[in-house]
């Protein structure tokens, strides 16, 4: 297993994000400074409402902050229009969602082809490439299964295959193990950590699940819309409030 490099993959600086106006205004991020490196798996942790998901959305380019800079693999996202952000996501991001978000009326293989088809790859090539990734995540033989006929762990593997099939540099994982049991969650995290070791890849994981903290190279702890501290060892965290 290769070691993480220390080149910056993701950097946010002074990011402010609020929702609503007037009295109903809610501040989600306050001067949030965050950095993730190439080849590492970094976790964003913190209590509910601390801004983890908002920061993840900003990094993913699905939310545009009101202030601050966001840079992903050298590309400034702040100031980009919706169309450019969409193109950026298409090329550079892979997503693993909490509830998998696999389309139930499609086969598992068809689900994995989605990012490639969005990129305009032909159906045949998309299926060929999806089969290769399918094998990598250990699901060979289940290509034609519908997501609902798979276990939670298998569904998350399909979701990981979907996130990786177009070989994006940045993998965004939102609570990837919250719907899984301990052992399955550990297997999934082991897989994600292995994937993060590619030199031009970075994995950002938002989680509440303390059982998987040990898979992180670093852990960024959030509180009240900003990064409170970043630790290398999960034992350094005070987990009582998480």
């Amino acid at each position: 297993m290769s070691q993480p490099t220390f080149e910056t993959a993701v950097r946010t600086h002074g990011v402010n994000m609020f929702f609503g106006e007037g009295e109903s205004r809610v501040t989600a991020l306050k001067q949030a400074d965050f950095e993730a490196r190439r080849g590492e798996l970094i976790m964003l942790v913190g209590p509910s409402g601390c801004g983890k998901t908002t920061l993840l959305s900003v990094i993913a380019g699905t939310l545009t902050p009101q202030a601050g800079t966001v840079e992903v693999f050298g590309q400034r996202l702040d100031g980009l229009g919706q169309e450019d952000l969409t193109t950026f996501r298409r090329k550079n991001l892979g997503f693993v969602f909490q509830s998998f978000n696999l389309i139930p009326t499609l086969t598992s293989l068809e689900n994995v082809t989605v990012p490639l088809l969005i990129q305009g790859v032909s159906q045949r090539e998309a299926e060929e490439r999806a089969r290769i990734v399918f094998e990598k995540v250990g699901l060979k033989g289940r290509e034609d299964s519908r997501p609902n006929s798979l276990s939670g762990g298998q569904q998350q593997r399909v979701a990981i295959a979907r996130a990786l099939v177009h070989e994006p540099p940045l993998l965004i994982c939102d609570e990837p193990t919250s719907a899984l049991d301990k052992d399955t969650g550990a297997q999934i995290m082991e897989m994600i950590r292995t994937l993060s070791r590619a030199p031009n890849r970075c994995v950002v994981v938002v989680t509440h699940d303390q059982r998987i903290f040990r898979f992180a190279d670093r852990i960024a702890e959030m509180e009240d819309g900003r990064i409170r501290r970043v630790v290398d060892d999960p034992r350094q965290l005070d987990t009582t409030h998480l």
Binding site: F97, S99, D174
Partner: protein, 396 residues
């Protein structure tokens, strides 16, 4: 993405079935009701089909083919003297009551044709010969009339059945005997009464020698003279009204008697309104059911569309997916509905009631409307998906 969109659509069979039911029902209602409407409206100018002639001449006050305003017989001479007329024959048309041998009365459309030329005679006789109309008190009746005016008998099994009239059978018109010498095949009329053909002079007798019995004159132009030209000359020289008899209803001339008959019924009856209501109902039901079902399909898939958006699909891609889904459902629904309309139409044509005419234009118009319904459904879905924030995928 199109194939993926279709797989999403066909993967949800319950929703698809509901969607197709709505679209098919809508297509069926629109195609079937419009075809019956045009069938009924085509019956309004049945006399022009059954009594074939290039030009019809009538009293100037006549507005449509069922509206005979009798003229004096001397008008025939005037028309014959117009330059360009090859021949002109008298035609009598009236609604009379026929008394059957069992004492029952039936309304008939009496058609009196020229005994010398038989101009205006039915084109096809299934029994008998037209020349036999020259025998005293003879008539030719249409197949529908023979059935309608037939005798009711009780069979050996105790069930009643109707024995259709046949050559040799008789009935009475104004106490004058009418003996059937032939059965003809003609189109049925809007008025419902069967066509009973006889000679012009005998028709006058059946009308108790009314003073004016010349309903129309059938005119043929000489070679090299167009129908429109001759109509103008006849109108100019006789002050009568001259009509052409083209019945291709999508390409009517201003002089077409069929066109004027069609529009007379359109303006003066509630038929278009009632059928228009049914067609509009089909359209609205289609929009309501299909729109609602497709919308719920979109709602159910909203989080997946949000995920697809997050993964980098632009709204154009998602809009195309929704359009492919809606229009495919529209095409299938149209196929089912139009197919059912055709099947019902075939049964109707076999039974003869109600009339059913599915012009190709009805077929295409129904297709356009059903695809319109699908388009509306797709647009509703597109609006919904466009308002979904890609960031919502991270909110569980």
């Amino acid at each position: 993405m199109n194939r993926l969109a279709l797989n999403m659509l066909f993967g949800d069979r319950a929703k698809l079935a509901m969607l197709l039911c709505g679209l098919a029902f809508s297509a069926l209602l629109m195609a079937q009701q419009t075809s019956v409407f045009f069938g009924i409206m085509s019956w309004t100018y049945t006399p022009i089909y059954n009594i074939r002639s290039t030009i019809w001449v009538s009293d100037p006050m006549v507005e449509q083919a069922n509206d005979a305003k009798p003229m004096r017989d001397t008008e025939l001479g005037k028309v014959r003297s117009v330059d360009g007329v090859s021949w002109a024959a008298p035609l009598h048309m009236s609604i009379l009551q026929a008394r059957m041998t069992d004492g029952n009365f039936k309304l008939i459309t009496m058609v009196g044709i020229d005994a010398d030329t038989f101009a205006g005679a039915p084109a096809q006789l299934s029994q008998g010969r037209i020349e036999e109309l020259r025998l005293p008190n003879t008539v030719i009746i249409d197949e529908w009339g023979a059935q309608l005016m037939g005798r009711t008998v009780v069979g050996p099994d105790g069930k009643t059945k109707t024995v259709p009239l046949k050559p040799g059978d008789t009935f009475e018109i104004n106490d004058i005997e009418a003996r059937i010498v032939g059965i003809c095949k003609v189109r049925r009329a809007f008025t419902g009464g069967p066509f009973v053909y006889t000679t012009y002079d005998r028709a006058k007798a059946y009308n108790l020698d009314a003073r004016r019995t010349l309903s129309f004159m059938l005119v043929e132009p000489r070679d090299g003279v167009s129908a429109a030209q001759l109509c103008e000359r006849i109108e100019r020289e006789t002050e009568l009204k001259a009509w052409t008899t083209d019945t291709v209803i999508w390409d009517w001339s201003d002089r077409s008697l069929a066109k004027n008959t069609f529009w007379w019924f359109w303006k003066n009856t509630g038929i278009p309104f009632s059928f228009g209501t049914a067609v509009a109902l089909g359209l609205f039901v289609g929009i309501a059911i299909s729109g609602q079902t497709f919308y719920s399909f979109v709602l159910e898939n909203l989080k997946y569309f949000a995920a697809i958006k997050a993964m980098g699909a632009g709204m154009a891609t998602i809009a195309r997916m929704l359009l492919v889904q809606a229009l495919t459902a529209g095409l299938i629904g149209f196929g089912l509905g139009a197919g059912m309309a055709q099947a019902i139409g075939r049964v109707m044509i076999e039974k003869g009631m109600p009339p059913f005419v599915m012009f190709p234009q009805i077929f295409w118009a129904t297709l356009v409307l059903v695809l319109g319904i699908s388009l509306v459904s797709a647009i509703i879905g597109i609006i919904k998906v466009s308002r979904v924030d890609a960031a919502s995928v991270f909110r569980g």
